[in-house]
Amino acid sequence: MAEERQVTLSVRSWSKSGRGPVQEYTIPVLDETDVLSALEHIHAHLDPGVAYRSSCRRGVCGGCRMLIDGELRLACETEVRDGMEIDPYGSE
């Protein structure tokens, strides 16, 4: 049921000014992987400096609302795609 593929994501890091540098990460993902799970993978395996807020992971609490390809969206409800630009603190 699950096909593994590679995607490259650009993640803006946190900074006081709100415009930290952008870093690219390439990770393996399965079908129906959400942006939050992808960020979790990056934090756990590639760069513990990558930070984000999350709580319910089921589209209920609104805690993981962030800028994804320039739009405010819930990371847990957005399917990850190759080339996505993610700004975890972009809503503030």
């Binding site: 513990p48 400096g49 807020r53 089921r58």
Partner: protein, 578 residues
């Protein structure tokens, strides 16, 4: 260190915290501190959700009901379901307080979808919204801060007088001086590699109470909900399949629930006893080497005729459940594919020991909701939503009254700084073994060895491994050195809490050489009422866990005999009034 002064400090802004705030605000100023999103944190928004009250009370509130039920009849059921390990003073407070709490939620605008004999059916989102309305009606007497994580409680002369916290937005420490403190922090779901809880449920309240010297009780009792989705990643941990009719298959294609003792099979398939019975059956298949590739079972709906499947679809427009869209996955199931599911850590019967006023064993400290222990004994079937509401109201009132009549001297600066040192050291030390590596080790160990099926040898191994992990975590240093929004740092702090709580749980599970409720020991599969109808209490002494026993506060007599586990379940079910 910035200092904030308040009457009542409430830690956790889920249902129990909000309910406590509303009640405490009648007597005192209140500060509501939240680690996650304010008023939307915790497990409350994820609840199914039913809010329970006895039939007679529901009828008085105007809900259709034959009224033959009573708080007493309900209490007897809760004790039977809890395998007679319940603290019956707490059961009485729960059943007596439930009706008023349903009434209060309705006044704050709860949307009730349906009424069943002992509950109103609603959603976690609606419960949460109703409580937020209640909080907002209190106006300026409740102030709230979010993204703030409490590190430790501050004690003076044996009394809790506030807490030291980390503002995760700025990375600064914060001292909160309070005349009374309420813990409402929920469970420790995240200590399990597979769980159905929110990210912030890391046992913070239990751990800080424990470090301050409070007693924990029934820590070995952990409920696993069966049929929780293991994949795809975006749906992992969702309870969606828990409410669908499916057939469970092992990797050989056997419908293994048909092997259940026929006396318990009906309970497993048609009642909330399924949490315990189906979780055990699934875990046994995995441990026998017959699990699915992801370590669970296959969940199939292929046995349903298409028109039956489509009738179910019609009841769930767009295949939406909570905030999730399951249409893609459900399309695959309709085509005959099976999903993979397994038992996930879902609810914690054990926790901080409280009395009938929700006071812990420490002066000045109260606790409410899932972070407490004792009410549901060895197995919760009745609603946790009602627990958080009743406890929240009781704890908020008790803390508010205590705060109104109490003066607390200022906390010496050095005391506060000493409590913040541990957290700051994690930031200052050179990078050590990665936090995530230790965290994953803990989570896998907890799920495997302190999980659905327990065994003396694996619990002994777990206790040893946990001690090693605790040693390693004592010298943790993070790689990310900024103070602000440092997830790695937060996780390192949470890791210590999860480790201490799982340690307490594993020690109690090892000590309890019997099976009772959700605690199932493969090496002693019988309920031993001769030796084990008693609580295990865990306390922190000289930086080490110390175990002791406490009698069950009970009015119900239980024959002091040893009963095979399945027989005990059948007997308990037969004793229920409904």
């Amino acid at each position: 260190m910035r200092t904030l002064r308040t009457g009542v400090l409430i830690i956790g802004s889920g249902g129990a915290g909000m309910r406590a705030a509303i009640e405490a605000a009648k007597h005192s100023t209140v500060t509501l501190v939240s680690k996650g999103p304010l008023g939307r944190s915790g497990a409350t928004v994820l609840a199914g959700a039913d809010v329970m009250a006895d039939g007679a009370s529901l009828r008085r509130l105007g809900f259709e009901n034959d009224g033959s039920d009573s708080p007493d009849a309900w209490a007897q059921d809760i004790v039977a379901e809890g395998f007679h390990l319940n603290d019956e003073r707490l059961v009485e407070v729960y059943v007596e307080g439930a009706g008023a709490e349903v009434g209060a939620l309705v006044r704050w605008g709860l949307s009730v979808r349906r009424v069943i004999p002992r509950a109103v059916l609603t959603t976690g989102v609606s419960i949460s919204a109703a409580l937020r309305k209640g909080v907002s009606e209190c106006g300026s007497s409740i102030s709230a801060v979010d993204n703030v994580m409490v590190l430790d409680l501050v004690k003076r002369d044996g009394q809790v007088v506030g807490a030291v916290a980390l503002d995760r937005t700025t990375g600064d420490l914060l001292l909160i001086e309070a005349r009374a403190t309420v813990l409402a922090t929920g469970g420790w779901h995240q200590a399990y590699s597979f769980n159905a809880g929110p990210d912030e449920a890391t046992g913070d309240g239990q751990a800080m109470a424990y470090r301050a010297g409070a007693e924990l009780v029934d820590m070995e009792m952990v409920t696993f909900a069966p049929n929780i989705l293991l994949a795809p990643p975006r749906h992992r941990g969702s309870l969606w399949f828990y409410i669908l009719p499916g057939m469970l298959l092992n990797r050989n294609g056997d419908a293994f629930l048909s092997w259940l003792d026929p006396r318990v099979a009906k309970l497993a398939l048609t009642t909330e006893w399924n949490k315990l019975l189906v979780s055990h059956a699934s875990a046994k298949e995995v441990s026998a080497g017959r699990g699915s590739p992801l370590g669970g079972a296959y969940f199939s709906m292929k046995h349903l005729p298409w028109n039956v499947f489509d009738a179910i679809a019609a009841e769930h427009p767009g295949w939406r459940f909570q905030g999730d869209d399951f249409s893609h996955l459900m399309g695959k199931l309709r085509d005959g594919h099976a999903a993979e599911v397994g038992p996930a850590a879902e609810y914690f019967e054990g926790g901080i020991r409280i009395d009938e006023r929700c006071q812990t064993t420490l002066a000045g400290l109260y606790a409410a909701g899932e972070c407490t222990g004792g009410l549901f004994g060895a197995n919760r079937v009745a609603a946790a939503t009602t627990e958080m509401l009743v406890h929240g109201a009781v704890a908020g009132r008790a803390a508010g009254e205590a705060a109104a009549g109490r003066k607390v001297p200022p906390i010496p600066k050095q005391d506060a700084e000493a409590l913040g040192e541990g957290a700051l050291a994690i930031l200052d030390r050179p990078p050590s073994i990665p936090v995530e590596e230790l965290r994953e080790q803990l989570r896998e160990l907890a799920y495997r060895d302190v999980g659905v099926l327990r065994h003396k040898e694996s619990l002994e191994g777990a206790v040893r491994s946990l001690a090693e992990l605790a040693d390693a975590s004592g010298t943790l240093g993070v790689a990310t050195k900024r103070k602000e929004q440092n997830l790695e740092w937060s996780r390192a702090i949470e890791l210590r809490n999860m480790l201490q709580v799982v340690q307490a749980s594993a020690l109690a599970a090892l000590q309890r050489a019997e099976s009772r409720g959700v605690h199932y020991r493969e090496d002693c599969p019988a309920v031993d009422n001769k030796r084990w109808r008693k609580h295990i209490v865990v306390q922190f002494r000289q930086d080490q866990p110390a175990l002791s026993f406490a009698d069950v506060d009970s009015r119900s007599a239980v024959c002091a005999e040893i009963v095979p586990y399945e027989d005990a379940i059948v007997r308990a079910a037969e004793a229920l009034a409904t």
